[in-house]
């Protein structure tokens, strides 16, 4: 690792992406409301995008595929946020709360 600059190293980007994934999973389990879970899901998506760009930069240099797929991830994430917002509005209108633990009608 000596001799090269710190930011020209694949491992450190992988570590950041792994930390984002871990924080997202922790947030998904720690939060009780649906909005908190949605925010944590965005963290996980960002970790995936960072992984794509880092692998593209260091293992397939000169090809734009990783960046293209990161843009796809952003589009999918935007669509998912819109649908989740619609579902949250619907749940709030019907049950007057958005707590994930209390939504267990389909569990029984």
């Amino acid at each position: 690792m000596t001799g090269t600059l710190l930011y020209n190293n694949l491992n450190i980007y992988l570590f950041v992406a792994l930390f984002l994934l871990s924080a997202g999973i922790l947030g998904m389990l720690y939060r009780r409301t649906l909005i908190g879970m949605l925010i944590s899901l965005e963290l996980i998506m960002n970790g995936a995008g960072l992984n794509y760009v880092a692998f593209n930069r260091f293992s397939k240099a000169g090809d734009a595929a990783g960046q293209v797929f990161t843009l796809f991830i952003m589009g999918i994430s935007a669509a998912e946020a819109a649908i989740a917002l619609g579902i949250i509005i619907l749940i709030f209108r019907k049950y007057k709360h958005i707590e994930g633990e209390k939504l267990k009608e389909m569990k029984d």
Binding site: M1, L5, L6, Y7, N8, N9, L10, N11, Y13, L14, F15, V16, L18, F19, L20, L21, S22, G24, I25, L26, L29, Y30, T33, I35, L38, I39, E42, L43, N46, G49, L50, V53, R57, S59, A61, G62, A64, A65, Q67, V68, T70, L71, M74, G75, I76, S77, A78, E80, A81, A82, I83, L85, G86, I87, I88, I89, L90, R93, I98, E101
Partner: protein
């Protein structure tokens, strides 16, 4: 240590701490603002990865669009959920184990199998926006069109869900 490395370490620490704050703060607005700070940090990392177009798109899409959507969700749910109590049941052993199992496993794999390879780049490869546009319209034409179709369908679906379905008022 060069100046670029110091800036990189600062951006990385900003990203890590704000990601942790996103998961763990008690206030929903603070979590959202930490998410925005995380997005800015990740866009800085994209600039260090020689991907300025992705960095710009990160700021435009995540900070500009998705955060506004989540602000709408917070606003609709009302001030009751802004300050949360301490989550109940968090102390249960099963939840802590579930939260730990994926990060610990992934970190184990990371340290054992990937850490040793230490891939660095030999030459600076530049991918311009022109290359990304060519890749979009040559190789990935069908997925590109399908993504636009997906976004249209999701927007129409969200509007249909929110407007035209009558819940129990």
């Amino acid at each position: 240590m060069t100046f670029g490395e110091i800036v990189f370490i600062l951006i990385m620490l900003l990203t890590l701490f704000s990601a942790l704050a996103t998961a763990l703060t008690s206030s929903m607005i603070y979590a959202l603002l930490s998410l925005i700070v995380t997005m800015f940090g990740i866009s800085g990392l994209y600039i260090f990865l020689n991907a300025p177009f992705i960095a710009m798109m990160q700021i435009l899409i995540y900070v500009g669009a998705i955060s506004v959507l989540i602000v709408f969700a917070v606003m609709i749910a009302g001030p009751h959920y802004l300050h949360m109590k301490a989550p109940k049941g968090w102390t249960g052993l099963s939840k802590i184990l579930t939260a730990l199992i994926v990060p610990v496993f992934t970190f184990f794999v990371f340290v054992n199998f990937i850490m040793g390879t230490c891939r660095t780049d030999k030459k600076l490869s530049v991918i311009t926006t022109k290359d990304i546009g060519r890749a979009f319209f040559d190789t990935y034409m069908l997925p590109f069109e399908l993504i636009s179709l997906l976004i249209v369908v999701s927007i129409i679906g969200a509007i249909m869900l929110a407007l035209f379905s009558k819940g129990e008022k």
